[in-house]
């Protein structure tokens, strides 16, 4: 009982530390790829301290509540995700619950930003929703394939099965699904080539345009959580989870660095190019993976 409570308190803090570390690392790696020295690794923490001490401007009740809703949604998803062996709510829920609650975070951000009443915000939100329409289809197919392959909806059992049979990204029908998930990962993370919704040069960083002070700091924390969730889901489903938090963290680090290398060198898609890409190759691969899994299973 005590360990359970400790885990419930500890795992969001752990996720926050990992997410903020990733944000700092992203800026450092980007700088090194551009042949710059780059900021110190703790730069996101410095920025957040500055933002928390700044005066902030609210744009209404929903502006305050929406961001809290999205933070709450992210924290609940983290409680369902195993981090190594740490999984506070392992007995309840599973992939279906994660799928539902994962929608809360972008929804909260959309509600909160929408109160700002800036034209750039509405363009950004519409782009974000169209993009999520693009990646939700392959994501659903991928998760269905995993659930069919291991005959369970519990993410803990998927991890345990992989400890016995090897990583599912190297098993025959599921490597198609794993590849598909990796192809849509930049879209889920909102990094280039899919950063259409938060493009600073086109639409003044989209939904973030009216955020400043404490609100921007909370939005950064929410971004860190979102980074953690989508990478941890990939590691749990396809890279065999982790026997302890350290191996799990190393696997997350490898996936994240690969994603950042893509982010650093690619230009930005237009929104219709992004949809065309997302509904073509990742969806095709995910669909093939699902069909193969069904054929092998019967």
């Amino acid at each position: 009982m005590v360990t359970k409570v400790m885990q419930i308190i500890l795992s969001p803090i752990l996720a926050l530390i990992v997410g903020v570390f990733f944000l700092g690392l992203a800026r450092k790696i980007m700088a090194r790829i551009h042949w710059r020295y780059g900021p110190p690794l703790v730069q996101p923490v410095i920025d957040m301290i500055r933002l928390f001490y700044q005066k902030s401007v609210s744009h209404g009740r929903m502006f305050d509540l929406g961001i809290i809703l999205s933070l709450a949604g992210s924290i609940v998803v983290i409680l369902f995700l195993p981090f190594g062996r740490i999984c506070p709510l392992s007995n309840s829920g599973g992939l279906l619950v994660i799928l539902y609650i994962m929608l809360l975070a972008p929804l909260g951000m959309a509600l909160s930003a929408g109160q700002g009443a800036n034209p750039n915000i509405s363009i950004g939100i519409s782009r974000k929703l169209i993009l999520s329409l693009g990646y939700e289809v392959p994501l659903l197919l991928v998760l269905l394939a995993v659930m069919t392959r291991y005959k369970t909806i519990s993410i803990v059992q998927v991890v345990n099965a992989q400890q016995n049979t090897g990583w599912s990204v190297f098993s025959f029908p599921l490597f198609l699904s794993g590849l598909s998930y990796f192809l849509i990962l930049p879209a889920i993370l909102g990094i280039r080539p899919f950063d259409v919704s938060s493009a600073p040069q086109e639409i003044s960083s989209g939904p973030m345009v009216e955020y400043g002070g404490k609100y921007l700091a909370l939005a950064t924390i929410e971004h860190a959580f979102a980074l953690f969730i989508s990478i941890a889901l990939f590691v749990n489903l396809f890279l065999g989870g982790g026997a302890n938090p350290i191996t799990f963290f190393i696997k997350m680090l490898v996936v994240f660095v690969l994603g950042i290398c893509i982010h650093a060198v690619f230009p930005r898609f237009r929104i219709e190019q992004a949809i065309k890409y997302l509904w073509k190759w990742p969806t095709l691969l995910a669909f093939l993976g699902l069909i193969m899994t069904l054929v092998i299973r019967s």
């Binding site: 800026r27 700088a31 551009h34 042949w35 710059r36 020295y37 780059g38 900021p39 110190p40 703790v42 730069q43 410095i46 920025d47 301290i49 500055r50 001490y53 700044q54 005066k55 902030s56 401007v57 600073p200 040069q201 003044s204 960083s205 973030m208 345009v209 009216e210 955020y211 400043g212 002070g213 921007l216």
Partner: protein, 182 residues
């Protein structure tokens, strides 16, 4: 971060965070903006000092006014400066915002920018080199350390003076006053 900075961080975290996280707003008033891209990219990597460009005034706390200020741009500069969140710092870049520079007898530019918004520091020259921006940032650090970079406080206290000067150039302003005036 060296060791004697840790005590400073514990004593005044807000001041230190303001120093090392200066987010400059992208705002091109004149020719001086051409010196900013080399500063933020690989040649003079300003991100080492925590200086990065951001796209919106809400996220920014450093305002670089680069080059001559025409009357039309002054309107946008004032609105942008008022939208930034406190504490905020403004730097005039080049000789034109200081005293008019080569446009001193132009009918369409203003000569002394610090009559309209408070400026925390000047970079003289036409053009200043990109290194001058980095030197200006280090000078701004010193000013923040000594609590002398208080342009936003001056703006709040002498708002009527600034507003009067702004109305003298721009005519009737079409936005409400930022701070209450008698």
């Amino acid at each position: 971060m060296d060791r004697n900075q840790i005590t400073k961080w514990i004593k005044a975290p807000a001041k230190m965070a303001n120093k090392y996280s200066l987010h400059a707003i992208y705002f091109c008033t004149g020719c001086g903006i051409i010196e900013v891209p080399p500063v933020i990219t690989s040649r003079w990597d300003a991100e080492r000092f925590g200086v990065i460009p951001v796209a919106t005034p809400r996220q920014a706390n450093l305002f670089l006014i680069t080059g001559y200020v025409s009357v039309k741009t002054l309107r946008a500069i004032i609105r942008t400066y008022e939208q930034m969140l406190e504490p905020k710092y403004a730097i005039g870049f080049g000789s034109c915002p200081i005293n008019g520079g080569m446009y001193w007898d132009s009918y369409n530019t203003i000569k002394h920018l610090d009559k309209y918004i408070p400026i925390d520091g000047w970079i003289a020259g036409c053009m200043p080199r990109p290194e001058a921006i980095i030197i200006a940032v280090t000078h701004l650090w010193t000013l923040i350390d000594k609590d002398m970079a208080n342009g936003y406080v001056k703006y709040r206290e002498n708002y009527e003076y600034y507003r009067k000067n702004q109305e003298k150039v721009l005519g009737e302003l079409d936005w409400p006053p930022l701070y209450p005036t008698e």
